[in-house]
């Protein structure tokens, strides 16, 4: 067999700059942010007159009224949401993968992912509140309520409702990550081998495929854990209030006009980081324990499953997931067109477009900030990710053993370190450098969180591309650039655009970076929606939540339909 053609790599060796620039850009923010926050946590903040290190703020933190309750709610909602989302995701793969329910989920995945956390939480609140749609559906016939009851299932003291919302929102993310990872496992033939050995499909999934899948999505799971333990916007909307979760409490301290509270906030932020690190350690221990306990079960030869009920439950879960998400969108739509809607009516008595008209007039600025920041951040992220991946391919071709995959995991750090643990430190540093409140700083702060998601979604597909196609193209057009632009990039257009859309939706959802790094000068639809949700008219809030939902949805739809349209004559490029 002939060897594949060799490219003159010297011409494109500047690719080596991509991982360096990317890592410096990322690590500088995190290291500076963490060091700054840690020094403040130990009482050192010369700019406001605290010139000596002390542990007084830690003592104040642990003795702060409601500290224990706050910590418990944080752990229940954060760790509970992560474990449940993970278990349900595996459950869905084991029992529903590739049945008709899965096809429904598959079709709903992009819209599910596109719904921002805050919009989802607002809609969920409107569904499950005492005057929400669910109770309206049941009242007065089944409940007897003619006025909303004075109890609430939301904002409970233990963070259960927050946990539930996060579970529903994180399952699609974990499914997406799992689907990417499954591309690296020969699922079809593994199923064939397992079944030819006499195992039922569900048993093959549980014993063969899921144990191979877990290590490949471990990082994504840790990201979910870090996010769930430190989320602010979602906790403001559906989390406990008195006391709130730790992240919300810390956020309030950071915004307190009394500067001394910022030191308390820094101690709290550091505690959240410790909580995340120890929870990741706990997950590792749990993983080792599960491996130990189930090792003999894996090979006990039990071929038949007694999980018929589980299959039904799994299919029900798919329906619930899709149903709640549709319900969330519908209730927001109904509220946004409502003029008068009394309890327990199932639908409004009178409708109006008044709030949309007002909303369109008022939301221009936030929409512009959202789109310009999101598109710039996701565009830069795609360029950096492609640059890093191309460098990786180049290094592998040159036979260099120190390939960048070993160090590029550092890119995921912004997902594993709670935002609140380092963003305040970054903000303080930017203030000192007089770089706070600048649009480019805002884009950079969004890029920190956009880039890991772009890497996570694009990396596996990009790496699985058959590089020999580009090699052949280079021999034909004699230019690596031409081959890249005319062959490789068009072939990868679909995953590139999809990952950019994921990046954009991540940018749209950013709350803390926009407030901290934007220094309050850049309102986005997310900051506006969260701020309004705490006390404004449901009709106005719904309009803002829908804008927050529609913006990334449009980008997702474009990412799906542009390649489909562009390659409409190419059967091999259709899904």
């Amino acid at each position: 067999m002939e060897n594949p053609p060799v490219i003159n790599h010297k011409k494109i060796s500047s690719l080596g700059l991509f991982p360096i620039v990317t890592l410096v850009c990322f690590l500088s923010a995190i290291v500076i942010g963490l060091i700054s926050t840690w020094t403040q946590a130990f009482g050192y903040m010369p700019s406001i007159g605290f010139n000596h290190f002390s542990v007084i703020h830690w003592i104040r933190l642990f003795s702060y009224p409601g500290f224990n309750s706050s910590l418990i709610a944080t752990m229940i909602s954060g760790i509970g949401a992560t474990l449940l989302a993970f278990i349900f995701t595996f459950f869905l793969f084991a029992f529903s993968y590739h049945n008709q329910f899965w096809r429904l989920l598959d079709q709903a995945l992009a819209p599910l992912l596109a719904v921002p956390h805050a919009a989802f939480a607002i809609g969920f609140l409107f569904l499950a509140a005492p005057s929400g749609w669910v109770l309206r559906l049941l009242s007065p016939g089944l409940t007897g309520f003619v006025v909303p009851p004075d109890w609430s299932l939301m904002k409970d003291a233990y963070g259960i409702s927050l946990m539930l919302v996060m579970v529903l929102k994180e399952i699609p993310f974990l499914i997406l990550m799992s689907l990417g990872a499954l591309g690296r496992i020969d699922v079809r033939r593994s199923l064939a081998v397992g079944r030819s050995l006499g195992y039922e499909t569900v048993q093959v999934w549980i014993k063969i495929i899921l144990p191979q899948l877990y290590p490949k999505i471990r990082l994504a799971l840790f990201a979910v854990l870090a996010y769930s333990l430190s989320v602010v916007d979602l906790a403001l909307l559906v989390g406990p209030t008195a006391p709130p979760t730790m992240a919300v409490q810390v956020f309030r301290w950071f915004n307190d006009p009394d500067f001394e509270y910022r030191l308390l906030g820094a101690a709290g932020a550091t505690l959240i980081l410790l909580l995340v690190v120890s929870s990741i350690g706990l997950l590792y221990l749990l993983e080792a324990g599960v491996k130990l306990i189930f090792r003999s079960w894996l090979i006990n030869g039990q071929r038949r499953s007694r999980f018929f009920l589980f299959s039904t439950l799994s299919n029900f879960l798919v329906l619930a997931l899709v149903g709640v998400s549709i319900g969330v969108i519908l209730v927001l739509l109904v509220w946004s067109f409502t003029w008068r809607w009394q309890f327990p009516d199932f639908l409004p008595a009178t409708w109006s477009t008044q709030f949309w008209r007002n909303g369109v007039l008022q939301i221009g600025g936030p929409i512009w900030n959202t789109i310009s920041t999101g598109i710039t951040a996701s565009f830069l992220a795609v360029i950096l990710v492609i640059g890093c991946l191309e460098n990786e391919i180049l290094m592998l071709k040159r036979g260099l053993k120190t390939n960048t995959t070993k160090i590029l995991w550092l890119i995921y750090l912004p997902l594993l370190i709670p935002q609140i643990a380092f963003l305040f430190g970054v903000q303080v540093t930017l203030v000192i450098l007089r770089l706070d409140g600048i649009w480019l700083s805002l884009v950079w702060s969004h890029l920190l969180f956009v880039l890991p998601y772009v890497f996570l979604s694009l990396g596996p597909i990009y790496r699985s591309y058959d590089q020999r196609i580009t090699d052949v193209a280079v021999t034909l057009c004699r230019s690596p650039w031409q081959a890249f632009l005319k062959v490789k990039l068009p072939m990868l257009m679909r995953p590139v655009l999809f990952s950019a859309a994921i990046g954009f939706s991540v940018s749209v959802a950013q709350y803390l970076p926009t407030l901290f790094i934007g220094a309050g000068r850049f309102d986005t639809i997310t900051t506006e929606a969260v701020n309004l949700a705490s006390g404004s008219d449901r009709r106005i809030v719904s309009v803002y939540a829908l804008f927050q939902l529609l913006t990334p949805l449009m980008v997702f739809l474009s990412a799906l339909f542009i390649p489909r349209f562009y390659f409409r004559q190419r059967k091999g490029m259709q899904i």
Binding site: D186, S190, S196, G198, E200, I208
Partner: protein, 210 residues
Amino acid sequence: MLKLETVQIYIDGRPLFSSLSLEIKPGEIASIMGPSGCGKSTLLSAICGNLADVFVLSGDVSLNERTILALPMEKRRIGILFQDDLLFPHMNIAENLAFALPSEMEKPEKKEKIREALMKAGLSGFEKRDPETLSGGQRARVSLLRSLLAEPEAILLDEPFSKLDQELKDQIRSFVFETIRSMDIPALLVSHDHRDCPQGQIINLANQGE
């Protein structure tokens, strides 16, 4: 005996090949040859019960006098070997083999079976080894052992030697054929390389075209 009676596979209403009938006796290894895309692997998928929804199968397949087409894959008792060994990376060699043994078997008996199997394959002492640390030939042998430990009534070989280099191919081919013959079960091999086929029935699927 593995028996195919007037088997045809259709895609979009078109047959992949004309009606195929075949009888493979215990201990016999029949071969199906043909160029890529002629339907060789699809035929194996149909026999083992893993045919994709886009295909339609007509005719009958029986194994030891029982019709198997209505049975799900896991109940057909047909082992399959692919060109990739598909060893499970989260299990060591002994665990990969134990996976194929029946649940009723006691642990010491399982251990003994695995030890014996590995010895026959020249892999004694490999029980605790990670599949990743084995050579291509060793992995291929473990993969065959795993299929056979499940005590299939027939075995299908989907170009199992195509990724091996020539020297290794000769070794593994002898090992696979001898082991299958010693098990006295029918086997059907598909390949596009006539050197892979043992003596016996050889059907060229390309000649079976419309």
